[in-house]
């Protein structure tokens, strides 16, 4: 039995999949035996040297890890305060951190003898990563995507199709990411024998939040040794954007017990957390149960889930991983929100100052860096998770800037 060590933030979840009151296994009975099987397979794989070696080889030769830790010197000078490092996961194959997790889950699916992979996707980044790894291993891949997002993210839809995946437009509910996740769960309930559900973030029933976090933690482990090498010490602040929270958990988790490292998660504030149009579950939601876990959710007075809004499709989710909910209540991580227009400003600045077109998701994290870096000492060090590149977003940005491509 795992007892939560009060002196550590790194021992969760407990054996029931709980981080404090958050997490758990809120699924239909049909799925319960499947997630227990998955938990067992993951427990076995975790300690199997050959699993680790296979994953490390693929990370190195297929994904291109380790990703560099890059000192953004012009940006640092421009903001005139703390040194800004970027953990460049946007250089990964397929252009985001998503593939770190997908590789791990697909290797696990292969170990379990599953032949059909399903996934949900919002912006299409997780869908593309899943389609990619399925192509590499010759597995059947079905991606559920809200019909609204299929319309908004045409290039990624075409990419997935090129990679041999079937893309199913979801028209139930309100046709967005949360509905795509519902539809993936409905598919899984129906195809229990051969199907593996590859969830794209640190949400869902136990063991997904912990498993996805562990796969994404490669980001934090690399950053830890890279910053030691570059600065001879730990950073002062880590910053990452939060949709479901996987890139943030991946960066934060290895540092959680470094008491002097401050961490900030940046939610999508849309048009403002005081309006109805945002995706900030921690800032503007309250605890509830959805998609297999208890966490902070955007919901109305009657417990009905409400739609999220963000300029960034990858942050457009009304929930957040349960470990973040717990870290918020434990006050280990600070959570803030950034609005659409602030993210756009950061997007432009990053292009012009560093020659890096960021995804709109990490542009939210960068916007917060723009607020705090100038207030910090020149000796202070910030590490920002540059978790995705912006090729997918140029149409959205052009529209927001009133430019025709």
């Amino acid at each position: 039995m795992t007892v939560q060590d009060p002196n550590s933030f790194r021992t969760g979840p407990d054996e029931d999949g709980r981080f404090g009151q958050f997490g758990g296994r809120f699924v239909a009975e049909t799925l319960m035996p499947l997630i227990l099987d998955l938990e067992k397979a993951w427990d076995d794989a975790k300690t199997d040297r050959s699993f680790k070696t296979e994953m490390e080889n693929l990370w190195r030769y297929y994904v291109g890890r380790p990703s560099p830790l890059y000192l953004a010197s012009r940006l640092t000078e421009h903001l005139g305060g703390a040194k800004i490092y970027m953990k460049r996961d946007e250089l990964n194959h397929t252009g985001a951190h998503k593939i770190n997790n997908v590789l791990g889950q697909i290797l696990l699916a292969r170990r379990m003898g599953k032949t059909r992979i399903i996934a949900e996707t919002g912006a299409g980044q997780h869908g593309v990563a899943t389609a990619t790894v399925c192509a590499k291993f010759g597995l059947k891949c079905v991606v559920f995507m809200g019909a609204t997002d299929v319309e908004r993210q045409k290039p990624n839809v075409f990419r997935m199709k090129l990679l041999g995946a079937e893309v199913v437009p979801v028209t139930s509910g309100r046709s967005t990411l949360k509905d795509a996740m519902n539809e993936a769960l409905r598919d899984w309930v129906t195809n229990v024998e051969d199907t593996f559900y590859c969830i794209g973030t640190v949400a869902g029933p136990h063991p997904y939040p912990a498993m996805v976090r562990d796969f994404q933690s490669i980001i934090g482990w690399e950053a830890k040794s890279q910053i030691k090498h570059a600065e001879g010490r730990m950073p002062d602040v880590l910053i990452a954007c939060i949709g479901g929270g996987s890139n943030a958990m991946g960066l934060f988790h290895p540092f959680l017990d470094e008491a002097d490292v401050k961490m900030i998660g940046v939610e999508a504030g849309g048009k403002g957390v005081d309006t109805d149009e945002h995706a900030a579950s921690l800032m503007g939601g309250r605890p509830g149960v959805l998609h297999g876990n208890r966490t902070y959710l955007l919901q109305d007075d009657d417990g009905q889930i409400v739609e999220a809004h963000s300029i960034s499709a990858g942050l457009d989710y009304p929930g957040i991983g349960p470990e973040h909910a717990w870290l918020k209540e434990a006050e280990r991580v600070e959570y803030v929100s950034i609005k659409d227009d602030e993210a756009l400003e950061a997007f432009k600045l990053c292009c012009e100052m560093e020659g890096i077109i960021p995804a709109l998701e990490p542009a939210h994290a960068l916007a917060h860096v723009m607020k705090i870096a100038p207030t910090m000492d020149k000796k202070d060090v910030i590490v920002l998770n540059m978790c995705g590149r912006g090729d997918k977003d140029i149409f959205t940005v052009a529209e927001a800037l009133g430019t025709e491509i």
């Binding site: 239909a28 009975e29 049909t30 319960m32 035996p33 499947l34 149960v289 998609h291 417990g303 009905q304």
Partner: protein, 274 residues
């Protein structure tokens, strides 16, 4: 004896299977729903399952998803659902009512307050799809303590090793989900259901009803020969959906139509054992 126990005892005396109907609270409009609910016992319904609408019903097919959306759009709330049941109870103190839905609206209402309000309204049992035995401390155990039955779903993936855990805190009856899938999909194979019934009955004295995928009086009659009860939901809801006007309101004759279909199902289930 609880209403559910009394009902099954009576059915046993008469050598009949129970006919269980599922309708969504507030669908298509709260007032139409209230009238529909009132008419179900006379149409032959032995146990009424009332759906609590939720935006994200992850185990339901299109028919029940849309019913929930119609109800939410018509302003149905959890309080509204309990009020409708309280009104029903004024005219019927015998037909068991089981609330069926998802945990978030209940959690949001507050578990203690919900159990008190449901009990007062005249609810007999709960089926909460996303609360497996692993989460019994959330609602199942408090519900039992409050005198409400907690009816568990057993499924084709519930194997021999897991079955005792599923049955442990179950009360009222056991709901066997006849297919791996969502509501309204597929259709149950009587042979497989018969085998599952034997498997479950070997481990519990509770009545076992079967549902998911039952659409016609003929299917209902087949299953009534092997199970203690048969549940029909999506097919009833389809008849509601088929009689809506362009604004989503009920067309004239909706209640008569739906009730007639329900009666055909009930009659088939009741006469199946000759």
């Amino acid at each position: 004896m609880s209403r559910i126990q009394q009902r099954f005892a009576k059915l046993k005396d008469e050598n009949r299977a129970a006919f269980v109907s599922f309708v969504m609270a507030g669908d298509p409009k709260p007032d139409t729903f209230a009238k529909l609910l009132k008419g179900l016992p006379a149409a032959g319904v032995d146990i009424i399952e009332v759906g609590m609408p939720f935006t994200d019903p992850m185990a339901d097919g299109p028919a029940i998803q849309l019913a929930g959306q119609r109800a939410i759009a018509a302003g149905q709330t959890l309080k509204g659902t309990l009020d409708a049941i309280a009104t029903f109870r004024k005219g019927d103190d015998e037909t068991p009512i089981v609330l069926m839905g998802y945990y978030n609206p209940i959690f949001n209402h507050g578990v203690e307050a919900f159990l008190k309000d449901a009990k007062e309204a005249g609810v007999d049992g709960l089926i909460v799809v996303d609360l497996p035995p692993e989460e019994d401390a959330e609602l199942c155990l408090p519900a039992r303590a409050a005198g409400l039955d907690f009816i568990r779903l057993a499924t084709p993936t519930t194997d021999e090793a897991r079955l005792p855990a599923v049955l442990k805190n179950t009360s009222g009856f056991v709901y066997y989900v006849s297919i791996t899938g969502i509501t309204g999909a597929g259709s149950a194979d009587t042979g497989a259901v018969e085998a599952a019934m034997a498997r479950i009955k070997a481990k519990t004295d509770l009545p076992v009803v079967v549902g998911f995928g039952v659409k016609t009086p003929e299917q209902g009659a087949e299953l009534a020969k092997v199970a203690d009860g048969v549940v029909v939901g999506s097919a009833i809801i389809d008849t509601i959906a088929g009689r809506l006007d362009r604004k989503g309101g009920p067309k004239v004759g909706l209640i008569k139509n739906v009730t007639a279909f329900v009666k055909s199902l009930a009659d088939a289930v009741h006469s199946a054992r000759g």
